[in-house]
Structure formats: structure tokens, C-alpha cells
């Protein structure tokens, strides 16, 4: 029983990374209609920036702050420089653009920092807590706290502030928003910046355990896609629940289904996606817009 509880706990801890990445996917998707396949690579870039700052002698927390801000700026630049030229209804072009950005960022990271895995210092120390036979590392607890705080901030910003209201308005109906005086390019850039900041947190939380490398977020991105589908990409709560569920399911599946460990877990995650979308196509928490006929 203790082993099972430990697996559940570890799964949920891993799930917060998927949840953060899925949240970033959701923010971009709602804003620009783009399933941003480069979100994982953007998180990798953030982690490398933080690592490079520590190598330059900057303490870990300021380095993380720099990486998050740099990611937000990079996101805004990518939207403004490339994405805004592709109309939201051109799903094919947006998909291709996502792949191009993924491969391009991966290549840049590999050229600048190499492909060998590097040790990323944990910002939360290296202590281990034991209670009732269960084991929790400071990295796990700190990761949950950091991702949780990020999600809380995002929830407040999106639902309780004028900034969030305007951002959601532009995302929902750019033309109407423009008639009201909202500059859609500016607000969608802000949306990309917010998404990349959240993605940066995911990358920084994942790096100490996964090991920093250009391919570090490949599997987490797939898991985040599965999480977004399970929870409903239109729901901020849904993507978080989806991420935690995927973490949980893959941890349990990897332990108890023979041969399904490691990266093969992704099969289990997408099997869960199929099961959910057959019953609820918009995801567990996703909803179609209410429009009275």
C-alpha cells in the first residue's frame, strides 16, 4: 500500500509539470487558435537561460526570474514577428509553424549549448522529507509550490483583472475587440508572453530531475497535449486537472503494466485521451460556447 501511495504521490508531482505546460498550450490556443507544438522547446530555452545565468555567477532565484522574463519577451517577439501573420483559421499553416518553431529552437539550443545533458541545480535544495513511509524531495515540494503559485497568479490575472478580461476578449473575438478599441496584436502578444512565462516555470521545475538537454521537454510536451485534451484546452482548471491525471495514470501504468515504463508511458496517456474524447469531445472540463439560437 505504501508503494502504491508513493507512486501516486510521484505521479502527481510529475503531473504538475505537464499541467503547467498544458496551461501554456491552452493560453496560446485560446488566443491564436494555434496548438503551439514549440511550447516545450520554449520551456527548454528558458531552462538554458536560467542555467547560463547561474554559470555566469548569478544566484539561482534571480537567474530563474531572468529566464521567466526573457521567455515572456521571446514569446511576444515570436507572436509579433511570425505568428500574427497567419490567420487563425489556417490550422494547417499554424501547425506547420509550430513544428518549424520546435525544430528551429531545438537547433538553436543545440548549436549554442550542445546536446550533452547538463546538471541543473535545484532551486529548492536537496533535502528529503519522510512521513508515514512516504518520501518527498524538496525539489518535488518546491516544484508543486512554484507551479501552484504560477497557476494561482494566472487564474487571478485572467478572471479578476481588467488585463485578463481584455486578453480573453481579444482571444474570443478579435474583430469585435478591435471595434471596442482593443489592439489585438498587442493583446495577443501579451497572451504569448504570459504563456511562455508559464512554460518557463515548467521547464525550470523539470530541469533538475530530467537533466538539462535540448530534448528534455519532448515527452512532457506530448503529455501536456494529452492533458489538454483530457481536461479540455479551453479550461484553465481542466488543463491542470488533466496534467495531474496524466501524471498519475502514467506513474501507475508504468509501474503495474509490464513493459510500459519510461517514455512508452505516452501510449497510456493517449489511450486515456481517446477514452475521454469518445465520451466528452471537449474534454472533462471543456465547454462549448453557450449561444442561444
Amino acid at each position: 500500500m505504501t508503494e502504491f501511495l508513493q507512486i501516486v504521490l510521484d505521479g502527481l508531482m510529475t503531473g504538475v509539470v505537464y499541467a503547467a505546460l498544458a496551461l501554456a498550450l491552452g493560453v496560446v490556443f485560446q488566443g491564436t487558435g494555434m496548438l503551439n507544438l514549440s511550447q516545450g522547446e520554449l520551456a527548454v530555452v528558458a531552462a538554458y537561460i536560467a542555467w547560463a545565468c547561474t554559470q555566469a555567477g548569478i544566484p539561482i532565484w534571480p537567474a530563474i526570474a531572468i529566464a521567466i522574463v526573457a521567455s515572456a519577451v521571446l514569446g511576444a517577439v515570436i507572436y509579433h514577428g511570425v505568428v500574427r501573420f497567419v490567420p487563425p483559421h489556417r490550422e494547417d499553416s499554424l501547425m506547420t509553424l509550430g513544428v518549424t518553431l520546435l525544430l528551429g529552437l531545438n537547433a538553436i539550443v543545440s548549436m549554442v549549448w550542445g546536446t550533452d545533458p547538463r546538471a541543473f541545480p535545484s532551486p529548492f535544495g536537496t533535502w528529503v522529507a519522510n512521513f508515514g513511509g512516504l518520501r518527498l524531495t524538496s525539489q518535488q515540494l518546491g516544484g508543486v509550490a512554484l507551479v501552484g503559485a504560477t497557476m494561482l497568479v494566472m487564474a487571478v490575472v485572467f478572471t479578476r483583472t481588467t488585463f485578463g478580461l481584455r486578453l480573453r476578449a481579444v482571444a474570443q473575438n478579435p474583430r469585435s475587440a478591435a471595434y471596442l478599441g482593443l489592439r489585438s496584436g498587442l493583446w495577443l502578444s501579451a497572451g504569448w508572453a504570459a504563456a511562455c512565462a508559464v512554460g518557463a516555470v515548467a521547464g525550470i521545475v523539470a530541469a533538475p530531475t530530467a537533466g538539462l538537454s535540448p530534448a528534455m521537454m519532448t515527452v512532457p510536451l506530448l503529455m501536456a497535449l494529452a492533458a489538454a485534451n483530457i481536461g479540455g484546452i479551453s479550461s484553465r482548471v481542466g488543463v491542470v486537472v488533466g496534467g495531474l491525471l496524466i501524471g498519475l495514470l502514467t506513474a501507475i501504468g508504468g509501474r503495474y503494466i509490464p513493459g510500459l515504463g519510461g517514455d512508452l508511458n505516452v501510449v497510456f496517456a493517449f489511450a486515456a485521451v481517446i477514452a475521454v474524447i469518445l465520451v466528452k469531445p471537449a474534454g472533462l472540463f471543456g465547454r462549448e460556447s453557450v449561444v442561444r439560437a
Partner: protein, 255 residues
Amino acid sequence: MSLLEIQNLRARYGRVEVLHGVDLNVEEGSIVALLGANGAGKSTLLRAICRAVDTSGSCRFDGVDLSGRSTAAIAHLGIGHVPEGRGTFADFTVEENLRLGAVSRTRARSRRETDADLELVYETFPVLREFRRRQAGALSGGQAQMLAVARALLGRPRLLLVDEPSLGLAPLTARDLFDRFTGLRDEWALTVLLAEQNAKLSLTIADRAVLLSRGRVVHDGPSGDLATVDAVHADYLGASEFDLSHADARTKETR
């Protein structure tokens, strides 16, 4: 000087030109009905004023050239647009929709002033106060149209462009909505350019009528004169489907 001066305005969707050199002046404080059959270019003209379509030609608002400005920047100059289909944010509450309307206020105003305008809007459209916590997508057609107009008012525009407000509304609801425009014009110091297929309804409130046909202005004059234009009957109105009695009465009053 006219509040809105349009000269040789052309608009296109891709390679298809829809407006072929429109000239139009709108006097401050007037209600101008923009009439025409489906495809005449009414909605496109309103979009062209807001630079929401590919446009060429001259368009000046209060002496300010609108060319080269974005749709959002034009809203900030004081042009409100209630688009065809209302354009409300279905997932937002009524009050959230209304507060978004205040984005384009031409001068920075305090939250207190916005709240005062919100109260004014609720007095004009009490049903919106009743449903202020309801999702906009759950409103009826008439309520949604009121919300769209009210939201535009929150921006304190000087010129209000309204596109097919009677579309999909029951005759009595449409009548009720149109009856409010004259009062709104006076209370909010508005100038209204109203694109509408329902000529009879429009002419009961309009000072002037402009008839569009295939992207060109074919008549421009006092609303009561419309009945005497042969081309109007031949091209659009049809003698049997149109009763100008209301428009005649209004024209006599305003002369």
C-alpha cells in the same frame, strides 16, 4: 462641417471590389439611414469606415483623416460600431461585455464616470441590469442587440455605426429598439449611421436616407423624399412592400 466626410471610398474583399467610389457626408447630431438590398454594400461601408476591410479613398471624421489608422485606433477617435450579428462576447457576463465597451473612451475617465455611464445604460435598458450576471450567449436576440448597442454607448462615441439591428428580431422587439435610437441620440449626443434592410422601420427615425445599390450611392436626401425616387422603387423598394407614411410625417416635422 460634417462630422463624417467620405469621398470616393472603395472597398474590396480580396480581388472583389464591393464599394465603387462612395461619397457620403453625415451631419453631427443626425440619424442617417443607409438602405439597400442584400449585397448592396451597407455593412461593407460601415466596415470600411472602421478600416476593417481593404479600403481606399478619403474618409475623415471630425476633420481627422482615417486612412492608415487601425480599427482599434478609429474606435479611440470616437466611432462606435455595433456590427451585424452583434459581436458580443458569448462567454462573458452582460456586465463584463459592458465594461469592455469603455475601453475606447476618447478621454481617460475615472472608474466613477464609467460606473455612472453604466448606471445610465441600465436605466435605458433595464433588462440588462436584470441579467447583468448572465452569460451574453444566453440572452435572447433582442436582449443581445440591446447589449451590443449599450456596450458601444459605454465608449462614449460621437458617431455610432449600427449594422442591421433588426436582424432576427420579432417586429415588436425591433420597433421597440428603433424607438430608442432617437432618445439615445439626444441623451448621449450621438450621430447615428444606421445600415438596415428594413426601410420602413429605419425611415421612421431617420433624418436622411442614403440608398446603396451594388456598391454605389443611388439616392441621398431627406428620408421623406425616398418615395418619389423612381430608381428607388425600381431597384429596391417596390411600391407594395413599403409604406412611407411614417417617413413623410417625420420629414414634415423636421422641415
